[in-house]
Symmetry: none
Subunit: 198 residues, 4 copies
């Protein structure tokens, strides 16, 4: 009895997710150049060939991952942007959320690390890198401007400040995700990147 089309679709979808999630972790840990397909597939728990049933090459897999992460980020941040509170609270909310992601080594944390890697691996066309950073940066810029009006955020170009903040978050992710110890990051430190004391 042949499998129905729906069953096949479902199986494929499931496997694709399994691969993507495993690959995000693995790439984040080892980088693009440092990732061996043989190791990656063992890590995911599938045969090497299986991987190629879903992605035509190592590079395509990597690219798809970045696309997926970008999408996730977009969705996560759009919700936050709508809330109607003062900038300082928003920043505290974001920082808290970021630290949680990092400490729990969620997929978002891995995505930060991957993002750093993208900056480094200049070879790959970084269309995704930039677009990837777009949503969070834009959103944060607006909050920074709001905060500067409200007097809670330090002076400086909103764009550069936003970049700076995200850089720090990304690095924190990098430092934690790849180390075995679980460093605690003090929420206050991260807040102070943007917020004035008191």
């Amino acid at each position: 009895m042949p499998k129905t089309k729906e069953q096949c679709e479902e199986i494929r979808e499931k496997m694709k997710n399994k691969i993507t999630e495993g690959a995000i972790n693995y790439f984040a840990k080892n980088g693009y150049a440092g990732t061996r397909i043989s190791q990656l597939s063992k890590y995911i728990g599938i045969g090497q060939g299986t991987l190629y049933n879903y992605f035509s090459s190592k590079e395509e897999l990597f690219t798809e991952i970045l696309k997926k992460l970008e999408l996730q980020n977009k969705i996560g941040f759009e919700n936050l942007a709508k809330v109607q509170i003062d900038a300082a609270s928003k920043i505290k909310l974001i920082s808290k959320s970021m630290i949680e992601e990092i400490e729990n080594k969620t997929i978002t944390a891995y995505s930060f690390v991957l993002n750093i890697r993208m900056i480094e691996e200049g070879t790959m066309d970084n269309t995704f890198t930039t677009s990837y950073k777009d949503t969070p940066t834009k959103m944060l810029r607006d909050i920074i401007l709001q905060g500067q009006r409200e007097g809670s955020v330090i002076n400086g170009d909103d764009n550069e400040l936003a970049d700076y903040y995200w850089s720090v978050v990304h690095t924190l992710a990098l430092m934690n995700v790849n180390s075995k110890e679980n460093k605690t990051i003090e929420l206050n430190w991260l807040n102070r990147i943007l917020l004035k004391d008191r």
Copy 2:
């Protein structure tokens, strides 16, 4: 006219430096796994074989580079440690110096980037990584403790704060060294990582 031993030594030394400097840049840009010996030697402007007259393997070259950078760092910071001024001034001095290095994309800036890469590429035995970070971190810890006594530095574990500060410096290096635009980093932002407002 056979060359004297000294001349030979000098020539060797010169070539070795040429290789090392080129390799620092290249490794910083491409990481260890992402660096191909063929590309690297072309980048330096020598034959592949030549490289192996000076270093017995890719890994040895990398290791030597890290040693060299560590040494440089040690020397730079030891001098600073002896100065007899208040912690806030020391921190401002360090921050200023770091930003200069980064903006001028000096070898030190590259060393920061390389250091991040070391953290990522967990494969390599990180004896050097840790020892490399040692001197600056230790020195900064002392300054932080001094600053906390003096009331100029924010509260928190000295070790973690030092780590945090260096993380940010490293990130700034990463963001600048590998990008074509020359972002200006505001000195004040970096100081605020450790120093209280006012």
Copy 3:
């Protein structure tokens, strides 16, 4: 309503034929080494697994095809051998029939192409190749000898002449079967391979 044994047999037989016929075309077009099971099964319009319900391996499928074609050829030619007419007429009959097969791209035409491929792909044990060529060659040899006695066929070793004739037929098949344009082959040209002018 369970199917009767006969019905089952019939269904199996039908599917087996479907596979064999498709495979003859596909192998003729792409050769043994150039044929991918995945492509072949898509071409036939079945699942990959289905193929393995009928043939235990790619090689077995290929072998079965050769057997089948040999059989067909044998039958076709045995009838011709019995007819009681002069050699020239027989040759003209054969040539006409061959050209028809080729121009209509029948299964026999494909079998010619497959046969050429067999000669090329020296890897496979050629028990079948030789036995496959046997019947037509033997039959033609007899006709050639008859024709040489009758004065209608050119001089030369009967074996080699027969080989030569079949070679030409095979090539004509190759040239036509795999090209989109439909070249007309002049009957006279083929006859002249063996027959003297007038």
Copy 4:
């Protein structure tokens, strides 16, 4: 002491020829799909990597070979075209030359076989196939027309006759090059493809 540029060029030229010649034989024997790079390089007597220092892929190697053969053919035939003799003599000259090539299994003979393979392997863009056949076919067409005026060549479309003649030559090459026995091909048989008896 570095090698001079000329030495390098020479070495590379030599090796490229070695590879190309070996590959022509091997591809002719085994076809494109049937050729394993590992086997081919062993057959040539070089490392696998060496091959990739000269050709970027299996396909490029194959393509380059076809180009090379086309060139050779062009040169060989252009000379013949200029001779001022009757068509029958020209055809006899060509046939004699072809049979010699085939019996001695020269590179030209292999090129015929490769050409057949090209026709078969329809996947590959056959720009070369057609251009490859061009020169000989054109030249022969002129001779055929001349011969038909002179009354020595059989009737029929010059283009199709030329194609037919080359088909037979190609087949003869195929039959001989890949078999161990050295079949003798009677010159007369080949001449009769085009020439009337007497």
